[in-house]
Amino acid sequence: MTHTDWHAPPELLTRYADAPATIDDMTASSIEAHLVACAECRRHLSATADPALAVVSWSAIAERIDQPHPTPVERLLGWVGIESGLARVVAATPGLQAAGVATVVLLAAAAALASRSAGAVGPFLLVAPLAPLAAVAVAFAPAADPAGEAGIATPLHGAGLMVRRAAAVLAVTFTTLGLTALALPDLGPRAAAWVLPGLALALGALALSTWLRVEVAVSALAAAWLTAVWSLYWAAGHAGPVADSATFTAVGQVTSLAVAAVAAALIVVRRDRFATPEGF
């Protein structure tokens, strides 16, 4: 700070503090430059200005400084119209963090590579439905909430938040799998036969998690899925490709849809269980 002999006229400082709109930008900039160098004018301004104005100004400055930097997922959710606070809560779901997304991408890539090297869509159809299951496991495992138990004891915690998070996680997972499916050797309608089983398994895991720990539910359903596909395949004489397993035919697709619908109904009926997860 340097000493200065010149001082801003007191009435100008009073207007600067009380009615800044009456001062043009050039004069306001000159006053601000002078205030930095002149302790006496700063004292005068402090004595003149309304203390409430200082509180409001400081709050506005702090707000600008403290503005959290939205992550890419938060921005994406904002673009689709989700309010910034809710976008922050949804984006903090572990399944939408780098490790969770990487898990889904790696699973999808491994499934696509296996299909390409086999020259058939079967391996992808077998593995792809497990990706939504993995996403559910990562997103809803015990202690997965970024705030742990402190987050559970809040009014927003419950089925509503779980559904929003599940929708976001599954949207990312299904988009990733859909894009990966473009790399499959057979782009016929059967290349989409993983969608309904994937949905059934993901919703089934969420429904079962109202009775069991989510890791147990996910492991049980993954084992059940692999067992069902292979047993139906072997029961049919395993002459053709895996994609011909009954799981991927019309009957299998309708069954998957029915399982998904039952799971969704169970989630609605048992929604209260998401508010206080036993064994957390």
């Binding site: 709050s59 702090a62 707000e63 403290d66 959290p68 309010e83 910034s84 606070g85 809710l86 922050r88 809560v89 903090a92 202690a143 909430d145 970024p146 705030a147 742990g148 138990e149 402190a150 987050g151 559970i152 004891a153 809040t154 009014p155 927003l156 915690h157 938040l161 209260d272 508010a275 206080t276 036993e278 957390f280």
Partner: protein
């Protein structure tokens, strides 16, 4: 004074372990302390009171509603601040981000008002200067204060704090005590602690839990009074004492039936607690022996 929280016949079991065995208690506005050794059931009781864990049996009423119902639980959670024993912290969150995240979950929709409140509670625990540091870069004591800050959001009517002073240095503990006396004045505060001096300094009401059962309920003065005429100092250890330890002055402090002519001293809250815990441990040994 009218109670704000009451539990009746509260029971909780984890497999073969009985964590709470028919607990009856009432709490009024002010600071209520829960004392007990590890495994006594303190954390289980606080988790049930904080609506994160359902009881197996018994009834809980908090702030005039039953948290076992969806409406009651929502109502309590809107007026609750909870510090778990081990808060989860997101790896990439700063202290500000974390408290802001919990504030969103507590339905602070207006961003400006929410951020003002986040700054306020972080200021209360003295973390203004480090609020934008990532939590993983903070010390254990600072993390504890971040946890306390999120519990204070909105000055809740019911504050459930599981070992809030663990990891705090003496100055921070003093600040925490002042904080409860000012920001939480009028609230019902339930806190568990191993620090009997915290109980003496903070609590108007104290409960001692042992093996999932309440062994004492009353004031800290009443707890200390349990050891009246049972605490004495000597230069040598007396083998007949139930408990004995060396003090900072190098003398031996004893609890038990004093010998004739013993140098009796004024009992503290810790002495009263040890009389209970010592009796309990003694009873346990006899039970095993028989």
């Amino acid at each position: 004074m009218t109670h704000t929280v009451s539990v009746t016949g509260l029971r909780k079991r984890f497999g073969a372990t009985v964590a709470l065995d028919g607990v009856d208690a009432t709490f009024t506005p002010g600071v209520n302390g829960l004392l007990g050794p590890n495994g006594a059931g303190k954390t289980t009781m606080l988790r049930i009171l904080a609506t994160v864990l359902p009881a197996d049996d018994g009834h809980l009423e908090a702030l005039g509603v039953d948290p076992a119902t969806a409406e009651g639980r929502l109502s309590v959670r809107r007026r609750l601040g909870y510090l778990p024993q081990e808060p989860g912290f997101h790896q990439h969150f700063s202290a500000f981000d974390f408290v802001d995240y919990v504030a969103i979950l507590k339905e602070w929709v207006d961003r400006k008002a929410r951020h003002d409140e986040v700054r306020r509670v972080l200021g209360l625990v003295g973390l203004e200067a480090v609020m934008h540091k990532r939590i993983r870069q903070l010390s254990g004591g600072m993390r504890r204060r971040v946890g306390i800050a999120q519990a204070l959001l909105g000055s809740p009517d019911l504050l459930v704090l599981d070992e809030p002073t663990a990891g705090l240095d003496p100055e921070q503990r003093l600040r925490f005590r002042e904080l409860l006396g000012t920001d939480a004045a009028g609230s019902t505060v339930l806190l568990s602690t191993h620090q009997t001096d915290d109980v003496a300094a903070l609590c108007g009401h104290v409960i001692v839990l042992l093996h999932g059962q309440i062994r004492f309920t009353g004031t800290p003065v009443g707890l200390a009074a349990l050891a009246t005429d049972r605490v004495w100092l000597a230069t040598d250890r007396d083998p007949r004492a139930e408990l004995a330890w060396v003090t900072g002055e190098g003398r031996i402090r004893h609890i038990g039936e004093p010998p004739a002519g013993a140098h009796l001293v004024e009992p503290t809250v810790e002495d009263g607690y040890l009389v209970l815990a010592g009796r309990d441990a003694h009873a346990g040994e006899e039970a095993v022996a028989s």
